[in-house]
């Protein structure tokens, strides 16, 4: 079971929520401290092939885990699926409304209060003012941050930011929820609450895509795992099998 196992392609197009083919993303970071001069002097820095022809299919109503070491390309893949990064090559088709928790709370503005960040997050996703107004209280309620809602975000602990981000992501009841490296934050009770919310989402025929290098969360929440390394899909399958294989490789020091 090595090499890129092709993702099973559903026969009817209605079957999937996300369908990506041959996704390729290359970063060309500028190494120079003076980017303008750097750009003129040396056309570009070393290229990073963050995604190198990735195929991914998420059938409707399933939760998928994206497994891989640091730097494997998980966050990049989620950005492409979220539509915030246009791939250099390949195609992505997404059905339904996406809500992102790409690295928890990263869409936030620290100078603004938690409440205003909730407003901004909802409006940016494309909700109307009325929809947002209806959601703000439930979101703050779910997050359980209490009167901290009216304090600037940079006075929050990382756990509180995570709670707020998670509350926004799930309360919007998206069709697809993308989560990047999350569940290490938040205390026990919130973790239970958030797991329940995620299962509810999947029960409502919603989709979950979780990227992590932690294995526990996958066993609890995911039906399928896509293991990527160096921008390539290594294996796709049920959590048990893939995790076993992944462990073996880690031990052997192959990946």
């Amino acid at each position: 079971m090595t090499g890129a196992t092709p993702t099973p392609v559903p026969t009817a197009p209605e079957d999937y929520a996300i369908h990506g083919q041959g996704i390729r993303v290359t970063y060309r970071p500028y190494t120079s401290k003076v980017p303008l001069l750097g750009k003129v002097l040396s056309s570009s820095g070393p290229e990073v092939h963050a995604l190198d022809g990735v195929d991914i299919t998420v059938p409707v109503g399933t939760s998928i885990g994206i497994l891989g070491r640091n730097g494997a390309g998980k966050s990049t893949l989620l950005r492409v699926l979220a539509g915030t990064l246009m791939p250099d090559a390949g195609r992505v088709e997404v059905r339904g409304r996406i809500s992102t928790l790409l690295s928890l709370g990263s869409g936030f503005n620290g100078d603004l209060t938690g409440r205003r960040n909730v407003w901004l997050g909802c409006l940016a996703t494309g909700l109307s003012r009325e929809e947002t107004a209806d959601l703000v209280e439930p979101i703050l309620e779910f997050s359980g941050i209490g009167e901290a809602a009216d304090r600037p975000l940079n006075t929050y602990s990382s756990g509180m930011v995570a709670r707020l981000a998670f509350a926004i992501g799930t309360t919007m009841s998206p069709d697809i929820l993308l989560i990047d490296e999350i569940l290490s934050v938040g205390d026990e009770s919130f973790r239970d609450k958030s797991h329940r919310a995620m299962r509810d989402l999947v029960d409502r025929a919603g989709n979950l895509v979780i990227a992590s290098h932690r294995l526990k969360i996958f066993r609890e929440l995911c039906e399928q795992i896509v293991w990527i390394d160096r921008g390539k899909v290594i294996e796709v399958g049920d959590p048990k099998t893939v995790i076993k294989e992944y462990r073996k490789h880690i031990k052997a020091g192959i990946v």
């Binding site: 980017p35 195609r91 901004l120």
Partner: protein
């Protein structure tokens, strides 16, 4: 369920882009006014400074260029002449700097949430347009009477230069925002560029200063898009003679820069996240 297809690089503006932009109108409003509305305690003071800042700046220019250097002899209503120019120029440079800031400061928002990125220069423009209008509003109360200028029917013409100028400003904002992503140094260049533009536009000085100057200087001054917009503004606000040629050049500049700026911005917005 909506289908979103993200193909490779964009060559044209994707279908539904402007509808998606319209759907974000509340987001735009929030970005444009959020900083002022968010802190209700400083609400009034913030708005007051919007008006006071450009007024005080105009005062300094008037003292130095109008009184000490004698520039006010060039125009019977030099203070008003100066003020219209300073405010209009601030509107443009403010939007250019603001658009760049929205992009570099909004990095986290951009890598996390998918929305049409034109939201950012639009919000920057709307914020500065509001400041511009608020500052101009003080014009008829404070400055115009000093120069014995009273509103005429030409005031109804004001929306025309305002609209054309705003189109131009939005185009310049989008252009700056598009360039600042791969070339961060643009942030350092823009203030110098707009300052030079300001000095080259007849704002601190009047046209009689270049009478008899070399032809290329005459051409350069008159070809300046800001000169066209200012001519129309001065017609509307100061009842200066209306010259149709400046309406034509203003409209041409507005359309060309808006279309080019927005087109190049949207074409490249998909790769924005990889530089932030």
């Amino acid at each position: 369920m909506a289908t979103r297809t993200a193909d490779t690089r964009r060559v044209s503006i994707p279908r539904g882009y402007f509808r998606a932009l319209w759907e974000r109108r509340w987001f735009i409003r929030e970005l444009a006014f959020g900083n002022i509305m968010g802190k209700h305690a400083t609400d009034m003071l913030g708005v007051l400074w919007w008006v006071l800042n450009p007024l005080m700046m105009t005062g300094v220019y008037f003292l130095v260029f109008g009184v000490i250097l004698g520039g006010r002899r060039g125009d019977p209503a030099f203070l008003a002449y100066l003020l219209v120019g300073v405010f209009a120029m601030r509107y443009m440079s403010g939007t250019m700097v603001g658009s760049a800031k929205m992009i570099t400061g909004g990095g986290k928002l951009i890598t996390t949430i998918a929305f049409p990125r034109m939201v950012l220069p639009l919000a920057a423009m709307i914020e500065d347009a509001t400041a511009f209008l608020a500052a101009l509003g003080s014009f008829y109360f404070l400055v115009a009477p000093i120069n014995s200028i009273w509103p005429t029917w030409w005031l109804l013409f004001f929306p025309v230069p305002f609209l054309l100028h705003s189109m131009f400003v939005l185009g310049m904002g989008a252009l700056t925002a598009r360039l600042v992503v791969p070339i961060r140094d643009i942030r350092n260049v823009v203030p110098h560029l707009t300052r030079m533009w300001f000095y080259l536009t007849p704002i601190l000085w009047t046209l009689d200063r270049i009478e008899g100057a070399a032809t290329w200087i005459q051409v350069m001054v008159k070809a300046n898009p800001m000169f066209s917009f200012l001519s129309l503004y001065r017609t509307a606000l100061m009842s200066r003679p209306f010259e149709p040629v400046y309406l034509a050049t203003s409209a041409a500049w507005a359309v060309v820069i808006l279309v080019f700026g927005v087109w190049t911005f949207i074409r490249h917005e998909g790769s924005m996240a990889r530089y932030l």
